[in-house]
Symmetry: C2
Subunit: 305 residues, 2 copies
Amino acid sequence: MSLVDGESALRGALRGAGHLLPGARPGIDGHGPEFEAVVDGLWRAYADRAPAGTPVMAFGPLIDAAQFTATDYPRSFPQLVGEVEVFRGGDPEHRALIGDVDAGRDWTGYFEPSGMTLVPATCQNVYPRYAGTLEAPTTVFCRSWCFRHEPSEDPVRMVAFRICEYVHLGTPDSAEAFRADWLELLLDLFRGLGLDVAADRANDPFFGRVGRMLAANQLQSGMKNEISVDLYPDRRTAISSSNAHRTHFADSFGIRLPDGGPAHTACAGFGIERVAIALLATHGMAVADWPGPVRRALRLGRETV
Amino acid sequence: MSLVDGESALRGALRGAGHLLPGARPGIDGHGPEFEAVVDGLWRAYADRAPAGTPVMAFGPLIDAAQFTATDYPRSFPQLVGEVEVFRGGDPEHRALIGDVDAGRDWTGYFEPSGMTLVPATCQNVYPRYAGTLEAPTTVFCRSWCFRHEPSEDPVRMVAFRICEYVHLGTPDSAEAFRADWLELLLDLFRGLGLDVAADRANDPFFGRVGRMLAANQLQSGMKNEISVDLYPDRRTAISSSNAHRTHFADSFGIRLPDGGPAHTACAGFGIERVAIALLATHGMAVADWPGPVRRALRLGRETV
């Protein structure tokens, strides 16, 4: 049974309750204080599952463009990429830019690539930090803002949003065990928060003709599992995923096992806003009225903001 | 007396202690868990100063480009702007992009303006939300990621960083009172955290020939005060500012008083990472050993991450 009538009903409820603050264009709404308390509670509840000694890494919204290119993301998902351009001109270009601003024209003609892009998944900022020989299988907890250019009126499909993830770097066996174990851990986490979740094989929006083949391969391989909720009447909504990458990122960044072979990597995380919205759709827009166990699991009620 | 020998000593200490995680280019280092706990503690300590009923707004790193243009920032500080470009091509452009990737060339030739830029100051996302008639003077608390393209080896000069601010919208008198009062409140907050701070008139990096005039006007007007610490031997380092904008943003976004005249605005906030680094330089790299009152003010020691 779906939780809400549709996108516009959900968007209206979230905005009406002050959880989303309408932006000037789709996908960049601001957030109110209760929403932020749920966001904080969610990543902390996930961070609490970290084994002792887990490295913790927090990143801003950017990644070095050469590292981003090495992930192969621009090839598979060009339509989602956000590239950052900057102005390196002098007084003449500045005068021309001002002329464009004054005339109400596009003023970005004098901008050029910065060497940075917005990052579409938090784990991309982790792999390059492990270039070289990996002494032992390692699991990292990380979080950051992310960007995917798929503007939509659907309030769960944001352009800018946050992800928190565990990233594993290890052997073929340790990476596959991680993918399976953390899928169960995520299902357990979400069920503990009262969400009616199910695991499915993932179906990413690979681009174009080549992309249709890549998407079919992904479905067949079972290397990526999504966790979804029954938010809307006409489709399930993914809130989380657990992925094994085999040697993809290890090959890109030169992450080797002690025997010289490439490491295997895997990651398991969730879109924090998506889970927050699933909770609001499930337990109601009044966070103060959520069930006690859910509020305690998210440490709600202690914060002033 | 300066706190550290210089930029490279500070950078080395911060990285050595795991507070900064070196990025592939200047200004986009990641952050370790103790650093993040200090960041969280700082914005919460500032949020605690909010009068009852203060609206709270959290934003991602982006702003609508038309709203950004209306702030006049591209005219005054083009060299700091980060503009976001996206790919709207089809299969032929995708093939060409893949060709560029494979040849190791710049692959951004098929990208075009997204209609979004990175936001350089959190308050820019607040003003447009008050377009129209302001019923009474209003103060808002806000926080977000920000971007200013001034890559540097100086660890306090980040390209991506966080700001938290109070923003005031009101009358000429209420805005001027806000600027003066919140300057004192910020000084009090920082002194309570053991920082040796001083207030100065601000000196922003306005661009080019026109910019030198604007900078002189800013110094003379006293409309912007900075709060600085004695971090390095050769200069003071700004960590915070309190600004009165007169009718600048009200004119840009059509924010009017009940009598039909333009509102006056002001804002008072700080660069969260800069204050965190000032605290680390003052109290030492081992956050567990900071003075008890500072740890309590920042609610340190309760978090697992």
